[in-house]
């Protein structure tokens, strides 16, 4: 089953999952996930907590290792290299290299508290990509401006509100100019009145054509911005389709009961 509604023929999907399984010890979290995310698509993952949405997201940039199945980003396997019919684990340095192209935004922001907003944003371009500070700073200033925080460059994370921190975190991920952005419940830790600013930034990003996978409880955002939506429960994809379709006319009982609780 493919979850995309926009056509995937001809182009390589940005993310392809085939029978992805993941266990933590005895806990079987992902029980065979199949889906495809097309380039430039905003792909929303919804579902009750513990359904494996976040785990799946973390598998995509190899923060978690999958136990079975195939997972590829832009046509290349995540964490492995295939030679003939044998899989070779990638070295840490190779995994790190691939992660540069995948931006990730966390529920708890995870900004580096000992660095200012500016330092947070230029850290990876300077330390990982080897850019000069001047080049990295120029881009960081543009990014801060884009997320509406041009005047907060010198602020430490503790001096920013949750919404501002999350927008800096988005700018930090964008600084590596990724081809794919992963959002792990980016607004769940925010006060309600701060959610809008973060969603605005994400909407803007979507309009620019960024490929985004968004684990979210913001059904409004999914309906309005999302190109595809997957409802996960208990480690499997229960239902997928266009957000408006799934959210207004859910076919499965589990989707219906979940949506009746959150909408």
């Amino acid at each position: 089953m493919t979850a995309t509604t926009t056509g995937t023929t001809g182009t390589t999907p940005m993310v392809r999952a085939e029978g992805v399984h993941k266990s933590f010890g005895a806990a079987h979290i992902l029980k065979g996930i199949d889906l495809e995310v097309a380039p430039r698509e905003v792909f929303c993952l919804i579902g009750p907590s513990g359904s494996g949405k976040s785990t799946f997201l973390r598998c995509i940039n190899h923060l978690e290792k999958i136990n079975a199945g195939r997972l590829s980003v832009d046509g290349e396997l995540v964490g492995y290299r295939q030679k003939g019919d044998k899989l070779y684990e990638l070295k840490d340095s190779e995994v790190a290299r691939k992660r540069r192209d995948i931006g990730m935004v966390f529920q708890r922001f995870n900004l580096f508290p000992h660095m200012t907003a500016m330092e947070n944003i230029i850290e990876a371009p300077v330390q990982v990509a080897g850019e000069t500070k001047a080049v990295a700073r120029a881009r960081a200033e543009r990014l801060l401006d884009r997320v509406g925080l041009a005047d907060k460059a010198a602020s430490y994370p503790s001096q920013l509100s949750g919404g501002q921190q999350q927008r800096v975190a988005i700018a930090r991920a964008l600084a590596m100019e990724p081809k794919l952005m992963l959002f792990d419940e980016p607004t769940s830790a925010l006060d309600p009145e701060l959610v809008g600013d973060v969603l605005d930034v994400m909407r803007d990003l979507a309009q620019d054509g960024m490929t985004m996978i968004v684990v979210t409880h913001e059904m409004g955002f999914a309906r309005e911005v999302g190109d595809a939506l997957v409802f996960m429960d208990d480690g499997v994809v229960v239902e997928s389709g266009h957000p408006r379709e799934v959210l207004t006319n859910p076919r499965h009982e589990r989707t219906k009961s979940f949506l009746s609780k959150v909408l």
Partner: protein
């Protein structure tokens, strides 16, 4: 609130201001009398006075302290104490970080070796370790590093080297535990965020984890430095001429035994005080970003106060 509204009405609202008194009348009540506190303060002061009196009465030649305070032998002792403290601490910190990373590594062999090291060096008194280093010539008669260095053990293992290895290697075991606690105190999300940006393990450790761990590591390390300064007096046992030994040498020629002990104590206190000040500023440095604004340093506070004296209308609260 009402005061503000009246004020904004304009300057002619005299009755309005009068109707709204600036501040409510503050409570005037008889405070609780803490008789227990008065009594305990009196007792404490009494004991203190008695102690001072006892020492003043004693047969102590106080004049000997200033006479010998800057004696050449004593100053050499102070210098040697500082040198052995700094170098042993340096050895302890570097080795401690290595041991902490080894203990936290996924490699069971390195982790076990680090565990064993810490178990061994924490399990034996540092005094015993010093003596063992001093007497290791029984096991190793010669030291032979091929073409680089070859000598008899006794002339290789100088008192300085004995003290350095004895104190430094012991310290490493304690520093390892302090560093481990610091590294573990950093939220896992930090490592994840760094990895997600494509940072390597080493870079994540160096750029992200260690700077944050320092906040947890510095205060107990300050303790360790002060401890080391005083523990270095045990190096007397291996013939190293540090402060205590220097004062003992002086007391043998001058005959002022107790006085020289006091002198050593005063020097130790001066050195630990200097270290405490250094620790304060180091903690401040690593606290950046952790609180909304750093409190002013004592120096800054003094300066602000002086400025406010100079300009009484300056309005510095």
């Amino acid at each position: 609130m009402t005061v503000d509204i009246h004020k904004s009405d304009g300057p002619q609202d005299g009755p309005g201001v009068a109707a709204a008194p600036a501040a409510p009348e503050s409570i005037k009540a008889i405070p609780v009398r803490h008789y227990g506190r008065y009594v305990s303060a009196l007792v404490a002061i009494g004991v203190l006075v008695a102690l001072v009196y006892a020492f003043a009465q004693g047969d102590v030649n106080w004049a000997a302290l200033p006479d010998y305070f800057f004696d050449d032998q004593i100053l050499t002792g102070v210098w040697n104490t500082v040198v052995i403290t700094v170098l042993a601490m340096l050895l302890g910190v570097v080795l401690g970080i290595v041991l902490a990373v080894m203990r936290l590594s996924k490699n069971p062999v390195t982790s076990a070796i680090a565990w064993f090291y810490i178990w061994f060096f924490r399990g034996t008194p540092v005094y015993v370790q010093l003596l063992v280093w001093f007497n290791l010539g029984i096991v190793f008669e010669y030291i032979n590093l091929g073409p680089i260095y070859k000598d008899e053990w006794s002339s290789f293992m100088t008192p300085f080297l004995c003290a350095l290895l004895g104190l430094g290697l012991n310290e490493a075991a304690y520093m390892a535990e302090i560093c481990r606690a610091g590294l573990q105190s950093v939220d896992e999300g930090q490592t994840e965020a760094a990895h997600a940006l494509g940072m390597s393990h080493a870079k994540t450790l160096r750029r992200i984890v260690v700077p944050q761990a320092m906040r947890v590591i510095v205060p107990p390390t300050g303790n360790e430095v002060i401890n080391m300064l005083k523990t270095s007096s045990l190096a007397v046992a291996v013939q190293y001429t540090e402060l205590l030994r220097a004062t003992q040498n002086v007391s043998q020629t001058s005959g002022a035994t107790v006085e020289m002990l006091f002198l050593a104590a005063v020097w130790y206190m001066i050195l630990t005080s200097v270290l405490s000040i250094g620790q304060y500023y180091l903690e401040r440095y690593y606290a950046r970003g952790s609180s909304r604004s750093l409190p002013a340093t004592p120096f800054q506070r003094v300066r602000a106060n002086l400025l406010s004296f100079r300009r009484p209308k300056g309005g510095i609260a």
